[in-house]
Every structure is written in structure tokens, then in C-alpha cells.
């Protein structure tokens, strides 16, 4: 499958030293299956850090990755309680990082309504069951995190 990454320059090699902390699935290289989403991210990045908006395309060999016994892949099919706690832990600035050892994580992107739920949960306004209830029936897009060098081996730059 083809995945996209939007940035302020062409990605020629994936450099983990440049990843930002406290992202949804931890520090690493993020991609999306929706090209428009990558384009919007590229425009946003340019607006903050200058440069040129570029969407880099990669072929992800999902089958080969899935068959690699040394690779651990975590997949969240929908915004569940497990997913929510995972994202909250990764976004936390108080927790020790990394919070997980997966090579690849695939799962939903939290949007602003979910961010508001997280915020209310953080502030103690709602409890975990209420948070999980709020996540139900939410249509969300997916994001792909490549967390390690071994994972990146399954990405081919197009």
C-alpha cells in the first residue's frame, strides 16, 4: 500500500533523531494513507518552519512486514479504551518515554473532539468509562508509526 508523509522538505532518508516527542504513538516516523491529510500537514509545517510543502510517497510492504517474526506490529482497529490509554501515555509529558516497544503502530488519529475528551479526562471532568463512551461510533482516519530502523526497512521511497 502507498503511504504519505507531509513536510517542509523532501524526505530522502528517515532520521529518527528528528522526531518530535509526545506524539500519539510515540517518537518516530508518521505516515497517513490519505494524501490530502499529508498535504495539509505539509502546508502547516511550512507555515511554522518555512521551506517548501512536499508530500513524500512510500510503498509499505504490509504483508512482508506482517510475516517478519522479529517485527512487532500493534494495530488498533478503532478508538477503544486500550487505544485511548495508549495515546494518553504517549502524549504525556510526565511519563518516561518510550512507553512501548512496538516496531510499527497502526491506529486511529485523535481529532479535536477526541482531544477535548482527553482534556476533560485529564482535568478530571469525566472518568474513563465516559471517555470510552465518547469514542464510540467515531469515524476516524488511520496513522502509521514507524518506530524502529527494522520497521523502516519495509518502507520504500517512491
Amino acid at each position: 500500500m502507498i503511504l504519505f508523509h507531509g513536510s517542509n522538505s523532501e524526505i530522502t532518508s528517515i532520521d529518527f533523531a528528528r522526531c518530535k516527542p509526545y506524539k500519539d504513538f510515540g517518537c518516530g516516523f508518521y505516515l497517513t494513507e490519505i494524501e490530502e491529510q499529508a498535504r495539509q500537514m505539509a502546508r502547516r509545517t511550512v507555515s511554522i518552519y518555512r521551506g517548501e510543502p512536499v508530500v513524500s510517497r512510500f510503498e509499505f510492504d504490509e504483508i512482508a512486514a506482517g510475516n517478519d517474526p522479529l517485527l512487532s506490529i500493534k494495530r488498533f482497529d478503532e478508538p477503544s479504551e486500550e487505544w485511548a490509554l495508549f495515546v494518553i501515555a504517549n502524549r504525556s509529558r510526565e511519563q518516561k518515554h518510550p512507553v512501548h516497544q512496538y516496531d510499527i503502530v497502526i491506529g486511529p488519529v485523535a481529532d479535536d473532539t477526541i482531544a477535548t475528551l482527553f482534556r476533560n479526562f485529564d482535568d478530571g471532568i469525566i472518568d474513563l468509562p465516559m471517555l470510552v463512551n465518547g469514542l464510540k461510533y467515531k469515524k476516524v482516519s488511520s496513522q502509521y508509526l514507524f518506530h524502529t530502523q527494522q520497521a523502516v526497512a519495509y518502507l520504500k521511497k517512491l
Binding site: Y22, K23, Q37, D112, R119
Partner: protein, 142 residues
């Protein structure tokens, strides 16, 4: 330059300051007092006649374009409000100080323009992005 019509006072002030003219000097040119210029600059009691006079004294003219207002997404409003309040918390400002700061250094403009990307990030990330954007535009905090 595209700017909202109710910002014309601010625009006049910026231009006057840029040219290092005092409110008094500008007032003298069109036969009004300092207080009147101050009023115009803060957007009060503006009439087309006074604006034209002031602009004439600054050797400027104004062009108008009529455009339909952008439809504002309710979710966007909620998001902007949340981010302003978190920004205030992060930088020890009151909500009012934070909104003024974010407005002045075009943080809100950034947030509305890039909402589609920003709302998929955490609120903390948006706060950080805003700080960087405002800093780029001349703001003092980072």
C-alpha cells in the same frame, strides 16, 4: 494587503508610527486634536469622511472589496477556545492576555488556516506551534 474594515484604525496607527509622526502632528494636518486621532486609531467614531481625511494626510488611499464571510465551523470555535485557554495556562497569562497576544501575532489566523492539520495533533502540540508562529511574527514568548 487584505485587512478587515474594522481594523482600519490599527492600520492608521501602524502607518503613523512607522513614519514617526505623533498623534498631535497628524491631527494638526487635518485640523483636529490629538484626542480625535487617538479615537480614530482605536476604531471609535469612524466615519468615511474622517478616515479619508486622515489617509489623505498620510498620502494613502483605501480600496474596498466586498467578500462573503467565511462560514465558521462550530468545531473550529471550540478548538480555538480550548487552545487559547491552554496557551494561557502554559504561559501564565490570563485568557484575555493570551487571546490578545495570539491575535496580535497572527496565531489565531494560523490556527484557523491550518485547522485541518492542527486538530489532529494534541492541544499541547498546537500550543507549541502557536508559540513558534507568534514568535516568528514578532511575539516575545517561546
Amino acid at each position: 494587503m487584505n485587512i478587515d474594515i474594522n481594523k482600519i484604525g490599527t492600520l492608521i496607527r501602524e502607518e503613523r508610527v512607522r513614519r514617526r509622526i505623533t498623534q498631535e502632528e497628524l491631527g494638526t494636518k487635518i485640523g483636529v486634536g490629538k484626542a480625535q486621532i487617538s479615537k480614530i486609531e482605536s476604531g471609535k467614531g469612524l466615519t468615511i469622511k474622517t478616515v479619508t481625511k486622515v489617509l489623505g494626510a498620510l498620502n494613502l488611499s483605501v480600496t474596498i472589496s466586498l467578500t462573503a464571510p467565511q462560514k465558521i465551523d462550530k468545531r473550529l470555535i471550540g478548538y480555538v477556545v480550548a487552545v487559547i485557554s491552554e496557551f494561557a495556562k502554559a504561559y501564565n497569562m490570563t485568557i484575555r492576555e493570551a487571546s490578545n497576544y495570539l491575535n496580535r501575532y497572527r496565531g489565531i489566523e494560523f490556527l484557523t488556516e491550518h485547522y485541518e492539520a492542527e486538530h489532529l495533533l494534541s492541544i499541547d502540540d498546537s500550543v507549541q506551534d502557536l508559540a513558534q508562529v507568534c514568535y516568528n511574527n514578532g511575539g516575545g514568548v517561546l
